[in-house]
Symmetry: C2
Subunit: 369 residues, 2 copies
């Protein structure tokens, strides 16, 4: 590997002049620059960024901590953040927590040791005290994405307006007469997302004179099987409510799979709404009502915040709230009353044609409503 010394020797100049010529230093003569560029071209010299970082005390790297890259929505955020970050001349160090809060903390330490200039955080558990401490000890700017850590005063945050989105989605169900609504969320209190969504759901219920029923509140890590299990269990107990609000997008396939398997018709025997929008929600028959938001925008705003702070503008850390849209689709175009009728009609239909293999609500699940 050619070093700066070798280039300097060939060009007949000092190593520092090579640095200056290559880094666009203002006071460099054309002649010197020519000599240096020629020597660089000859040798194929590429500066060692490890050494440069050590000396200049800036690695020009940004760390991204993500709770679970297998979630396409989070992958999308990383995608767009990487775009903005690399465009600004920084390289991304990626740390994936795989749903384990301890890894969040480890990642901050590792990134710190690798001397990244800034960190973007989509952690598993924002309440984790060790994580908070590790972030507080990190010297550079920190931006949280859909997370909030009030204790961490050096951190900016970009969040979607999950409260408002979920409130309006729930309101839509309540206005269709639904009084028993299953809320199937991710971990409810580890992140801003989980917390605000549940808060929006509860507020909408309260404004319609309803309380959250503990038996209709389910939460678990955002893995597909969980969605399936919850629906299966409710159907087994003949306790499927007339409407379902399902949170993190990994649950959606599981919920739909189990409903199909049991012959429960979405949009007829149950109303279904998702708090994340996906191609599946759009293309399912019937299409599924969902909350949508721009992960692109989330990423761009977060990257801008980080890069501005890195560029030295002494911007105060701040919180940006981005809008969430309700995408109304046929899966919720059914009133509670219609759900009850559909279920009882199917029940009696099955009785008439008893013993046939046609799919239908098992064990008269409609009676539970």
């Amino acid at each position: 590997m050619t070093t700066i010394k070798e280039v300097a020797r060939r060009a007949g100049v000092a190593p520092a002049s090579v640095t200056r010529a290559l880094s666009g230093h203002p006071n460099v003569s054309d002649e010197l620059r020519q000599k240096v560029l020629a020597a660089v071209a000859e040798t194929g010299y590429k500066p060692d960024l490890l050494a440069a970082g050590l000396r200049s005390r800036s690695s020009r790297c940004v760390g991204i901590i993500v709770s679970d890259l297998i979630n396409p929505l989070l992958a999308e955020v990383v995608h767009y953040m990487e775009m903005a970050i690399s465009q600004a001349g920084y390289t991304v160090l990626l740390a994936n927590s795989h749903g384990d809060p301890a890894r969040d903390t480890d990642s901050v330490h590792t990134l710190h040791q690798r001397r990244v200039d800034a960190i973007a955080v989509m952690c598993v558990d924002e309440r984790n005290a060790e994580l908070q401490q590790a972030l507080a000890g990190f010297p550079g700017p920190v931006v949280l994405l859909d997370r909030e850590i009030p204790s961490c005063e050096t951190a900016s945050a970009v969040v979607s307006d999950h409260y408002r989105g979920t409130y309006r989605l729930t309101e839509h169900l309540l206005e269709a007469g639904h009084r028993e609504i299953l809320y199937l969320g991710g971990l409810l209190d580890t992140t801003h997302v989980g917390r605000e969504r549940l808060r929006g759901f509860q507020a909408a219920l309260a404004d319609h004179g309803l309380e959250m029923r503990p038996d209709l509140l389910r939460a678990s890590r955002a893995v597909a099987q969980a969605g399936r299990d919850v629906i299966a269990e409710l159907l087994d107990r003949d306790a499927l409510p007339s409407a379902i609000v399902v949170g993190p997008n990994p649950f959606v396939p599981g919920v739909l799979t189990e409903l199909h398997a049991r012959g429960v018709r979405v949009g007829q025997d149950v109303a279904l709404a998702s708090l994340d929008d996906t191609p599946l929600a759009v293309l399912h028959q019937p299409p599924v009502t969902a909350l949508s938001r721009s992960m692109d925008e989330l990423a761009r705003v977060a990257a801008r915040l980080l890069l501005d702070q890195l560029a030295g503008s002494r911007i105060q850390p701040r919180t940006v709230v981005l809008p969430v849209e309700v995408q109304l689709r046929p899966s919720t175009a059914v009133t509670a009353e219609a759900v009850a009728q559909n279920r009882s009609r199917r029940r009696s239909g099955r009785r008439r044609a008893s013993g046939d293999g046609a799919p239908g609500l098992r064990r008269g699940a409609g009676a539970a409503v």
Copy 2:
């Protein structure tokens, strides 16, 4: 930030002894180790990995180049690779090419300059000469994922058996009597995936005495809109064939959207198969036949190859081929004959109820087959 000097001073030992104590050097007395560990605990010392990397000539970082992280399948590979790599004590540098071949090359240079110990490559265009040259100039191990660069003798490769998978999928359609099959692929010759899939498709045709019809071969970058456009154009020309093979998963939503919009019933008015499996393919009504493979396994095998080479076992670079499964589903459970019948029945049906707004094949698309 505490440095090794400060720790050494506190422990009353030499800096080199701190390194030895912390790095598990064999010849270190218990006493010295205790003193060092105490000083480390007191100060919260964390070694500067930039400096360590500079001196030891190994950054303990691995670069991953990915053509487009927004593709959930690629994100999944990155997810599992990161898992294996970080478990081995390495940190991942992520470089996303956003579909631009020039960025592939840039990324290799950047990662090289950042002194990563190895590179995993899912590039946009494996034929790119600059990329090949950049990879050849990289001193560490290189592993290609679903890519092949014969010229690069230092690179291992892990590929899925796209040829065999696509062959069998196509055979399945041919056996149902389909003779006009649209092949809607990604860029056909820039990667092993694209090339092998097309080769498998053509081989299956050839073995049934058919040639590839240029008007039934479409290719474009793997973005959603492309799928939609191709179907729209074919329907506009009344030229939709009886079966469709659609390649990269981003096309699938577009294809389905357009078919739905035009009232073409998948599995009745057209047979549809996808070369990538997704939750959408599984949960679509009717479910869509697709090729599936384990991205998890792909990633693990690739990571193992890289890490083994890093661990010094002088393994020859080699190519590993992983299996691809055909998931038969109802979307292809329709013969060419049935497609023709369905289309003409719908056509006459529409004629009887002419002028109504019901969805149906426009302009008698069935006649084209």
